[in-house]
Structure formats: C-alpha cells, structure tokens
C-alpha cells in the first residue's frame, strides 16, 4: 500500500512539467492514468532522447524517467466519442492535471466547469506558461522561456557577461513540484470542505517566486538586480567560487574538472590556509579579515586556483572537508550515479524494468518516508498498454467494444 493508494489522477501532461508532477503522485501510490494519442504523441516519447537504438516511440529514456509507475491509455480527444469516453473517466477520477497551453481544455469542453459536470468535486490543476487569465494567457513557453521571462536567467552569470541562464529546464522540474503540491493541497482541502477546485498554476509566476530577494530589493531599496557569478554577497563569503582542478587519472574528459569552495568565516579561512600549506595567506593584510577578503576576492581566487589545479576535485574536496571547510566536487551525472557514496547510501537511483529498454536506473525519491516510502512498480507505459484495464475493468467495456473503438480511431 502506498500513501496515495486509492487516488486516481488523469494525467494529460506532456513533455516534462506535467509528467514530473504526476510522476511524484504515482511514486507514492496514486493510480495515474496517462492519456495519449497516436494523433498527437507526447514529445517526450519522440523528440527527447536519449533513444536506445533508432529514434522510436517506445525507446526514449526521457519518457521512461518521467512516466514510470503510470498507466497509459490511448484516447483521441479530437473526436466526440473520444471526449465522451474522457468524461466517463473523469467521473471516476479524483483529479486532472495538464500542462497544455491555455485554452486547449476549454476547446475540448473540459475547462473547470466542463470537468465539474463529469464530477462535482474534481480537483483540476492546469500548468500553462502564463496562467489561464491576463493578457499573456495565450503565450507559449518551454523551460528556457519560463526561466528567461521570470528573471531566473537574468540572475545567473557574471556581472560583466551576458546572462548564463540555466543549462536545463529547472522550471519543468520545479513547475512539476509545484503542480504536485497544488494537487495534494487541493485534495486535502476537498476532504475538509467536500469541494474541488481549479488551481491555475502559471509556471512563470512559480519561477518569479524563486528569484529570492531580487524583486524586494528593488521595491524597498531601489537596487536593480545584478548577477554575481560564483560570488556570494549574502551571506558574504570569500573565497567563494568554483575552481579548476586536475583531471583524475583515466578520465575521458581532459579539461572540465572543478571544485566549489565556500569559506563562511575566519576560522574556516585559517583552516583552509593550513590545509593547503599556505599559512602565510592568513598574515596577508588583504586576506586576514573577512571584510578584507571580500574586497580582495579577485586577488584571492587565483591563489586558491593555483592550489586546486594541482589536485583532482575529489582530492581537493577531501583535504578541505577534513579541515572543516565547505567544499564539493562539481559532480557530473557519472559521479552522481556511480561515484558518490552518500547518494549510493540513499539508493537514489533505483533500477526499473521496461519492456523495451530493459532494466534502467531512474531518478528516485530524495524524501524517505518511514512508513510509506515511494515505490517502483513499473517502467513507463507503452503506448496504450493499459487500454484493456482502463476501458475494460474501470469503464466496463467489453473486448469487442474496445476493438470497435480502436477501429474507429477513438481509442487511438
């Protein structure tokens, strides 16, 4: 029994943000039914790799990662019979989640009012880019757009350089986390009030909420946002940065090895100087006191890097951590999966069996619940893999009826 066993959620999500939200619910035992159609395949199946072998619809690692533990059906929402079936499914479901552009659900007749006609107390979470109201409601986004317009991209990078932004769709993950929180909170509210609701989640608004104090600093102090590279103005720390290291023996990548170091106070600074064999640094007036180090950080960083360049990231991290200085290897996924004893201890990347991909490790659950931990039951569904279960067992159609719907390209 999972914590959410007994809950049934319809997942109209595609690409990543929606599937990330429902994946978490599925990991905790909710019955998540992913609705797809051959008429409009999830780009997570087709566009996003890596695919094993030639690009196909059943061999995407991306799709497997974000849709494991879910059931999958095919249903053509473009036809009236398809929408009628969807209404029957909604009637026996607790929630519906989607990350379409604003307006798609209304066009199908399944805006919140339409869904309520299927089931009065349904919970509906929409996760469009800009939300379902306001002048930008029809604007379209993917992760990098959300990060750009929200201010997240602007805040990343060096002050005298263009924005560096995020090297991945942070907001697809995080929009998904917010989506899961929204579903759970609305369900908890429903248990108390007996009423469902529509949560209009705008991924851009979720992202703006993560820009920290930037907006408030402008509002209160009139100070414009600024990038700070790898420095830390608040809390003030120096040295504070990412420093180049030597390549480990036998590593195929010759020149991309780094360690992050953050010195919080004078004690850690003295410990760093001793551990690196440079006690004289603490006598240098430029570096002795915290404030002095902050104003001379550009002279300090090259000295630190002279030391790190002679060591692998792991060696540098160990020497500094033993001395009590916060330091961490910039870990690639290679290290996350195969060379980090802490993540191994947590069993963060469990393996799941997929009919086409075989046994593959996937992103696991970083929150460990003592009584009802997340569980892995299956890989991502093949296209329409659970049609018999959903249309047969849940909706009570017999095999002939399902076959007829398939022939008519309704179950399609």
């Amino acid at each position: 029994m999972g914590a959410l066993t007994g809950l049934r959620i319809i997942d109209l999500g595609w690409a990543m943000a929606g599937p990330q939200a429902t994946r978490i619910l599925a990991d905790f035992g909710a019955e998540v039914i992913k609705v797809e159609s051959r008429a409009r395949l999830d780009m997570g199946r087709v566009l996003f790799g890596p695919h094993v072998g030639e690009r196909g619809i059943e061999n995407s690692g991306y799709f497997n990662n974000f849709n494991r533990n879910k059931r999958g059906i095919t249903l053509n929402m473009a036809c009236e019979d398809g929408r009628a079936l969807f209404a029957r499914l909604a009637a026996i479901s607790d929630g519906v989640l989607e990350n379409f552009s604003s307006g798609v659900m209304d066009a199908w007749g399944f805006g919140y009012e339409g869904l309520r006609r299927c089931r009065e107390d349904i919970v509906y979470v929409s996760m469009s880019g800009f939300g379902h109201s306001g002048p930008y409601r029809d604007y379209q986004t993917f992760g990098p757009t959300v990060q750009a317009v929200s201010g997240l991209t602007y805040l990343s990078g060096f002050p005298d350089h263009p924005p560096a932004g995020w090297g991945y769709s942070y907001m697809d993950h995080t929009g998904g986390y917010m989506g899961a929180i929204a579903v759970l909170s609305a369900l908890i509210a429903r248990r108390r009030t007996g009423r469902g609701q529509h949560v209009d989640l705008s991924q851009v608004e979720a992202a703006i909420a993560l820009t920290g104090t930037a907006l408030l600093d402008y509002e209160v102090n009139g100070r414009a946002s600024a990038r700070e590279g790898n420095a830390s103005a608040w809390p003030p720390m120096a040295p504070h940065g990412v420093y180049r290291c030597a390549a480990p023996a036998d590593d195929p990548v010759p020149d991309d090895h780094w360690v992050a170091i953050a010195v919080e106070d004078d004690d850690q600074w003295q410990a760093l100087a001793r551990a690196t064999g440079h006690p004289e640094w603490t006598d240098d007036a430029r570096f002795r006191a915290h404030d002095a180090r902050l104003s001379h950080r550009n002279q300090l960083d090259p000295l630190i890097e002279m030391w790190t360049r002679e060591r692998t990231p792991l060696d540098a991290m160990r020497v500094l951590q033993v001395a009590g200085v916060p330091a961490g290897r910039v870990q690639r996924s290679r290290e996350l999966f195969d060379d980090d004893p802490q993540l191994t201890h947590r069993g963060l990347f469990p393996s799941v069996e997929h009919p086409v991909l075989g046994g593959r490790r996937i992103d696991g659950m970083p929150a460990t619940l003592s009584r009802t931990p997340a569980e892995l039951r299956r890989g991502a569904p093949l296209l329409g893999e659970d049609n018999a279960y959903v249309y047969g067992q849940l909706l009570g159609l017999d095999a002939d009826a399902i076959a007829a719907l398939e022939a008519a390209q309704v179950v399609w």
Partner: protein
C-alpha cells in the same frame, strides 16, 4: 477557508526549510516559527531595508518567512525545551533542519515526539540526510557547495572555445528551494495518508539528493549512453554543441529564441523574416524536418539581425503573437510594472511597519481557492504569548 486551514506546523528551520514553511503558510497553514533568543540566524542575511542591518530589516527574512508566526524559545534551557515539546504535541507537522543527531540530543527525536503525538508528521531537512558517509564524516556545505555535489552546476555556465569556462551557480538559494519542495510534497503526502492510518511518520529529506534528481538530461545521457553534457550559454547543456538561442537586442538586453519545427509555425516564421526583408533563400514549408533543421543555422543568423534592431520586449511580444516560445530575458523587478502580473494579482502587497508602508513581493507560486492575503514576516517572538500562553 484556505486549503490548509487548521493544519498547524512548527518550524525549527534554517534556510533549508524556510521556503517549505513559506509555501505552507501561503496555503493557509498556521506556521509557528521557533526562534532562539535574539532571532533566527536567517534574520542576519541581507540585503536589508535601507541597507541598515537589523533582525527586523532583513529582506531575505521577509521573503522566506512571510505569513508565519514567531515564538522565541531557548533550546539550551530544559524548561523551554519542555515548552517546545508541548507545542509540538499540538502540531500536525514539524519541519526541522537540525544537524543529524542534534534532535535526539535535545529530546526532539521522532521516537520521543511521536510517543506524545502519534499523528505528528516529522520532516527533517538537511544537506545530506540523516545518515551516510558524508554525515559520518561531518561534511560541511553551503548553497554553492550543495549545487556542486548535487549536479546542477555541471550543466550551468557559458559557451567556450577550447577549454570549458567554469560552471556558474544559476542564482542563489536553489538548493534550499529544491529541498523545501520535496519537504513540502512529502509532508502533504504523509498528511493525506494519516487520515487513513491515523498515524504520522518521519521523513528524511536531503538537499543534495533533491538536486541530483533535478538535472533533466544530464542523468539520462549518463545512464543511457555514458555521455557527459557540455555547458552552453542560455540553453540546454547537451553532449554536442547546439545553435545559440540567446541574442543581444537593440536595448542592450537579451532575448531567448527558439525556431519552431512544426510546419505551420515554420511557415509563419519564414513569413515574418520576409516582412523584415530577410527571407531570401528560405523555403516556405519544407515538409522534411531534416531540411528545416539544416536551415536552422541560417534562420538563427537572420534572427540575430532582427534582434539587433528591436528591443527584447518588442521581439518577445512579436514572437509570441506569432505563436513562438520566445522570451525576453527580464530582470525580476520588471514584473513590478507588468500588465499581466497586475491583471492576475500576482504580486502580494504586504504592510511593513518598519517602513511605514506596504511593499510588493512575489505572491503565491499558484493560487488555491479562498487564499488569505499574505501577511508580513513576524517580528522576533511576536507571537510568543499568543501561542504559548502567558
């Protein structure tokens, strides 16, 4: 009533857990923040109002603690620890960020607390979790270091010629945000489950682990093809270089562009470039996606020319009205004067007596029914008497 009305949360948290409490407070939970005498350490993180440091002037604290109540208790004092235990006995949720082992030393471990309150959901949020090699070795960390150990830094930074430039922390606090998101999700899961079982449980959230499953492609390329991603300016890190998507505009700001691959959108893009006098040599609607990809390099070059003639804001709206996922790289404060944010009522107005006025800050990341207006962050111990009694 707000979604989480009636849920009482005791927060004994530093930066790793404060965002979780802020989210819960925004959804209507009664979040009681327990602070040491003199106030929580996060009150000393700037920037400060008018740049004057002070425990009631930290904008960091205002942002991460809006909507909560504050109680002061000295955990070094056994009598006050007993009062804290009595408070937790009335709570639905405890969110704490104590170093592993510290809770037990204070008599605040789950075994002790659940004996008095079996329905308690106890969430512990730490950098590495409650056990394991890094915990045993006493590893120390900060936001930057956790972002390195958790994997996001491998993907974030700039294009380079030859030797790759350094990874860049993509803004501050995201190890805390991500840990808090998993804390929030998992405690809601436990609250849901509690209604069936009648029992709470203990939840161990690790920030490093939370980040390590929040890196998108990098993990997939390692697991499926033993590949490493290469950092690129303003776009996804990939095993191979892809065309730049971030372009400088006439006003000195940037736009993030993407070329649509869907045939109808492609035709609209070619039409737009023709109107700009830049359509030469582009097919209207090549049916072959390979051909469109091949033309991509030329099209990006033309878009760079367009960008140089327009402001980022103009090009954002032009592109979006044509149905493209283009986005101006905005500074966060640009949302203070944005019509869309205003129409949706996204910004919260919060009275700050320190300033004698209301200030605007980012509101709830999503709106549930019947949400109460966001309240300002509490003063140190503002609610001690109210919560604990005289």
């Amino acid at each position: 009533m707000s979604a989480l009305a009636g849920i009482r949360v005791v927060e004994l948290a530093d930066a790793h857990g404060e965002w979780c409490g802020r989210l819960l407070a925004g959804m209507g939970a009664d979040v009681v923040k327990v602070e040491p005498p003199g106030g929580a350490p996060t009150r000393r993180i700037g920037p400060f109002a008018a740049d004057e440091a002070g425990v009631e002037r930290s904008l960091y604290f205002w942002h991460f603690n809006a909507g909560k109540r504050s109680v002061v208790l000295d955990l070094e004092d056994p009598a006050q620890r007993a009062r804290l235990r009595a408070l937790i006995a009335t709570a639905d949720v405890l969110v704490e960020t104590l170093p592993p082992g510290r809770a037990a030393a204070l008599g605040l471990d789950y075994a002790t607390l659940s004996a008095g309150n079996p329905r308690l959901v106890h969430v512990a949020v730490t950098p590495f979790g409650q056990s394991g090699p890094y915990v045993d070795a006493g590893y120390r960390t900060t936001d930057l270091v956790t972002m390195a150990l958790g994997g996001p830094l491998q993907s974030c930074g700039y294009d380079g010629d030859g030797e790759p430039p350094a990874p860049v922390r993509p803004g501050a606090h995201h190890s805390y945000h991500t840990a808090s998101h998993y804390a929030c999700i998992s405690l809601l899961v436990a609250l849901w489950e509690r209604e069936a079982s009648g029992r709470g449980q203990y939840i161990d959230v690790a920030a490093q682990a939370a980040l390590a499953v929040t890196v998108e492609f990098a993990n997939l390329y390692w697991e499926y093809s033993q590949g490493h991603v290469v950092r690129q300016t303003g776009r996804h890190a990939y095993p191979r270089r892809t065309a730049p998507t971030q372009y400088l505009c006439a006003d000195g700001t940037y736009i993030n562009l993407a070329i649509p691959l869907e045939p109808k959108a492609w035709a609209r893009l070619v039409g737009f470039l023709r109107e700009e006098g830049l359509g030469e040599g582009l097919d209207d609607g090549p049916q072959d996606i390979a051909r469109r990809l091949e033309l991509g390099g030329i099209v990006y070059g033309r878009l760079a020319v367009v960008a140089a003639k327009r402001t980022a804001s103009e090009l954002f709206h032009i592109g979006q009205r044509l149905g493209f996922t283009w986005g101006a790289v905005r500074a966060p404060e640009e949302w203070l004067d944005d019509e869309h944010a205003a129409r949706r009522g996204f910004l919260a107005r919060v009275e700050q007596p320190q300033l004698g006025r209301a200030v605007r800050m980012p509101g709830a990341p999503f709106r549930l029914a019947d949400m109460a207006p966001l309240r300002r962050a509490p003063f140190v111990g503002e609610h001690t008497a109210e919560v604990l009694g005289a």
